[in-house]
Amino acid sequence: MKLAVCFKTIHDYAMVPPEDWQMTGRYTADPGPVRQVFNCYEESALEMALALGNSPLSSGPASKNAVLTDSGDAAGPPLRVERTALTVDDNRADLFLRHLIAVGYDRAVRVAPDRDLDFSPRTVAATLATWITGSDPPDLMIFGPRGGAGEHCQTGPLVAEMLGWPCLMSVAALAFDDSRRLRVTCRKDRSCRIHVVEPPLVLVTGIATETNRLRIPTLKQKLDARNRSVQVLSLADLDLSRFDSGDKASSTDLVGVPKSHRTCTMIHGDSPQEKAQVLADTYLKPEQVP
């Protein structure tokens, strides 16, 4: 089984002070000097892919952690899973790609874009679809649900559409069943389905409660990964013409800051009864009371 997980690092938005989003003139997805991090959904996709096929009996750097992540795998010798981490990004991503090699990815590939593609989902999807249909095509493509900073949510479904592959959403867990077929758990708030499927296939992750944190490489693994190279391709290396990579269908720009702050309206009154009355009349409308 060959799989590839696509990711795009983002700024650690939680570290950007609120006033820095009030940009003068031009709003940008690059809000200043904060660190890059894995997008949490993609971190979960990356770990899910590492956990796949790593039964407790298997060897390799990931085996000990696999005990925690998947108890439903088939018994017997593990299936060989070849994992690629793939991103369309500038060289800031190389640190992350090497980290992924350290935790067990067999291959790290970066396609260097010629411009910022945060708001060009079809160009990104066409780039990925072109890479996928290259010389060594994977059986399984795994995506996070959001995309990078642009959060257009389109990359996974678009790649599926371009390749003519089926696409499963809200994927929460992956495993091989007893017959060594791929078992995909799709989970939403209050529903859960388990599909046994035949690749090729696109998977888009959702809330993965068990594999939402990427395992941590040891100092030794990090040292070893330093000597392994990240494969860097330029857009010119790929022939995108097979897919409609034109994002001429739409254009997106950042235009402002959403109004979302809660402001507290105080209820005044002379007695608790009065205050309760206002609360009931104004905020607990009769039709809302069950």
């Binding site: 650690d12 939680a14 570290m15 950007v16 002070p17 200043g32 000097p33 904060v34 660190r35 890059q36 991090v37 000990k64 952690n65 925690l68 992540t69 800031r92 640190l95 068990e210 594999t211 939402n212 944190r213 990427l214 395992r215 941590i216 490489p217 040891t218 100092l219 030794k220």
Partner: protein, 484 residues
């Protein structure tokens, strides 16, 4: 000896049933602190459960409880915010009482004229700090545990904050305080700016870690708050040696930045410093105070840095954004628990101090010792450290070590990883002539070295215990070993 039930019943008679908790899960969580975070994540509680958690309403109730405990020889573990990391809150003997001061949470007075705030032991530092900030003031105390820690515990553990290089540790901030001793004596040390009336008896109480008395009330100094004048400066240094040198030069020249931190490359990488300073050490400062002073401090630092070569400048905004998210609130505690559960990776720290002439040896010797002697070195995922509190005579070193729990089950994590790593840091530091504990407190896991740490002065420490806690009911196993 009283039974668990009898202890709970008699405590209820003293303070009322609502103030005595015997719910089993609550007792479990009160048998440990964050030293056993891995075990608590997996629901393994191996220590004796306390007989009860009691939450006194005031100093009189504390007094009554301590008298009762003295009479019956019951071990009492004082507690407030519960953010301890060194086992200080562990109940290591059967049928202990956890004396939880978190209900004593009244801010008694904020005095903007004499620049003092008085709060009960259960007042959360962040709550108090936010309150004084609304008056344009600050306590100047900002440990990472600020969102969790409470005034009593902060003083009891001799805590220190991230702005210590300017404001000092908690011992420099306490004006006066109230504490209750095991015989029930309620003592108030009055608030005066300075006096020469015998030894400074505040220091019997500050840092006693609940092994001598229970702190009920604290008065701390207040300073003017000028956040608008804060100026960050940061440098990527080639190595720790040159980092310590430049740090020393700036501090000993007479500058008092509030933040002065030096990270090695490994520790920096966990904060994402490798994204802008790969394989480099990061030295950072914050100048603060009234505008002319902040400006002069920043200028002085820049001038001294200019005399050195080999460093690269770092966008100070990057450091500022990072620093503003350094605190350990409950969110981070919860996140860490999740990480431990999911990845079986955990990490601890051991903080020591040394004079300028030995600090780099402590740093190097300790890392080399671990790399050579620690049998599970291949499981380490992080080994490094930083200095974060500097003084005229030296600085601290905060060793950081993370590991995948790989060689044992989570139950045996302590003895397999944490205990030996902690021991190596302590031993190398003492060997070089430093101090084995900089600001977390001795707790229960560095007690084997308490005598060695104090040398001939241990006599003074042991005498304090004998005089103030003759029945040895106060926090058994903390500072002093269980069997003296």
């Amino acid at each position: 000896m009283l039974s668990r039930q009898a202890i709970a019943d008699q405590l209820s008679d003293l303070v009322g049933r609502d103030r005595v908790i015997t719910d089993e899960q609550v007792l479990r969580e009160n048998s440990i602190d964050r030293y056993r975070k891995v075990q608590s994540v997996f629901g393994r509680y191996e220590l004796p459960l306390p007989a009860a958690v009691v939450k006194p309403a005031d100093a009189r109730q504390v007094s009554a409880i301590l008298k009762f405990a003295s009479r019956h020889g019951i071990n009492c573990v004082p507690k407030t915010g519960g953010s301890a990391t060194e086992g200080g809150l562990e109940t290591v003997v059967e049928n202990s009482i956890v004396l939880d001061g978190s209900d004593m949470n009244r801010i008694i007075e904020i005095n903007p004229v004499s620049m003092m705030a008085t709060a009960q032991c259960g007042v959360n530092l962040e709550v108090l700090e936010n309150k004084v900030r609304r008056q344009g003031l600050t306590i100047g105390h900002s440990p990472q545990s600020k969102p969790l820690a409470m005034m009593g515990g902060l003083v009891a553990t001799r805590s220190i904050g991230q702005f210590s290089t300017l404001y000092g540790g908690i011992e420099d901030m306490v004006v006066g305080l109230e504490a209750v001793f095991p015989n029930g004596e309620i003592t108030r040390i009055k608030n005066v700016p300075r006096r020469a009336c015998g030894p400074d008896i505040r220091h019997v109480i500050i840092g006693n870690e609940g092994a001598l008395c229970f702190i009920t009330e604290v008065t701390v100094k207040l300073y003017r708050y000028y956040p608008e004048n804060n100026r960050f400066l940061a440098y990527a240094m080639p190595d720790m040696k040159s980092g310590f040198e430049m740090l020393r030069e700036i501090i000993t020249a007479g500058y008092r930045p509030s933040i002065a931190r030096l990270y090695d490359a490994e520790d920096g990488a966990q904060h994402g410093f490798d994204q802008f300073a790969p394989d480099r050490c990061v030295l950072m400062f914050m100048a603060e105070g009234p505008a002319p002073l902040a400006r002069a401090t920043a200028q002085g630092i820049e001038e001294i840095a200019g005399r050195y070569t080999g460093w690269n400048p770092i966008d100070s905004k990057r450091i500022e954004n990072w620093f503003n998210h350094l605190n350990w609130g409950p969110e981070k505690v919860a996140e860490e628990r999740e990480l431990i559960r999911k990845t079986l990776n955990t990490g601890f720290t051991t903080e020591v101090s040394g004079n300028w002439d030995i600090i780099h040896s402590i740093y190097e010797n300790t890392l080399n010792r671990i790399k050579t002697d620690f049998p599970h070195v291949d499981d380490l995922t992080l080994l490094g450290g930083h200095s974060s509190h500097s003084y005229q005579t030296g600085t601290n070193m905060y060793f950081v070590y993370d590991y995948n729990i790989n060689a044992c089950s989570p139950d045996r994590e302590l003895e397999t990883y944490h205990v030996p790593l902690n021991a190596m840091v302590v031993e190398e530091t003492l060997k070089a002539g430093g101090s084995m504990v900089h600001h977390h407190g001795i707790g229960k896991y560095r007690t084997p070295w308490t005598r060695q740490e104090h040398g001939s002065a241990y006599y003074i420490l042991e005498s304090l215990k004998q005089v103030f806690d003759p029945c040895r009911i106060m926090n058994k196993g903390t500072i002093f070993t269980v069997d003296p």
